[in-house]
Amino acid sequence: MKVRLLFFAVLRDIAGADTRDLVLAEGTTARDVWQSLRDEHPLLHDYLQPPMTAINESYAAPDSVLRDGDELAFIPPVAGG
């Protein structure tokens, strides 16, 4: 299945991209995606837990199972206002 991963703020800087299209096995969770990002980027190494997680523009549990076509984003600490 295909999932689109969006990067914002510090994660965009670290990933060097706005989005990435992922091809994932059925049953993959948001937490699993975070683990691969951690493995890939030394700057994320200390972040064992994923930040707040959004699926299709709504907050979701990091253990949510992803579905084909989902839009996934990790939300670094927000600082609006």
Binding site: V78, G80, G81
Partner: protein, 137 residues
Amino acid sequence: MFLTDAPLDPRALVARVMRASDGAYVLFEGVVRNHHHGKAVTSIFYDAYRPMAEKELARIVRDVETEFPETAVAVQHRLGQLDVGESSIAIVAASPHRAEAFAACRALIDRIKETVPIWKKERGPDGEEWVGWQGRS
């Protein structure tokens, strides 16, 4: 639309919510200041997950208007590069009574800061930094 790339217009926001039955309004503006945690700041870049931020802002406005049924509120948040003295957010709460106007305005800004996916990168003579990321692990 709660997000804008243009300078905010608080007077228009006030005009949008005021009704003849309102005896008071409270306007809050967040402004880029020249310091943060002891470091000089010259500008702030605001980034957002725009469609999700719009939805979260709409949800918070709905929640606050439900909790303060006599009070009407409006919010605008600016994105992009802002210099010191420029406003990043404007919130208006208009009500027949002042206590509710203060409480609703305060509730809005507090909740917006908690959950709306907006981020800021502070820029100063010492470099730049995404606020809130350092020290989190």
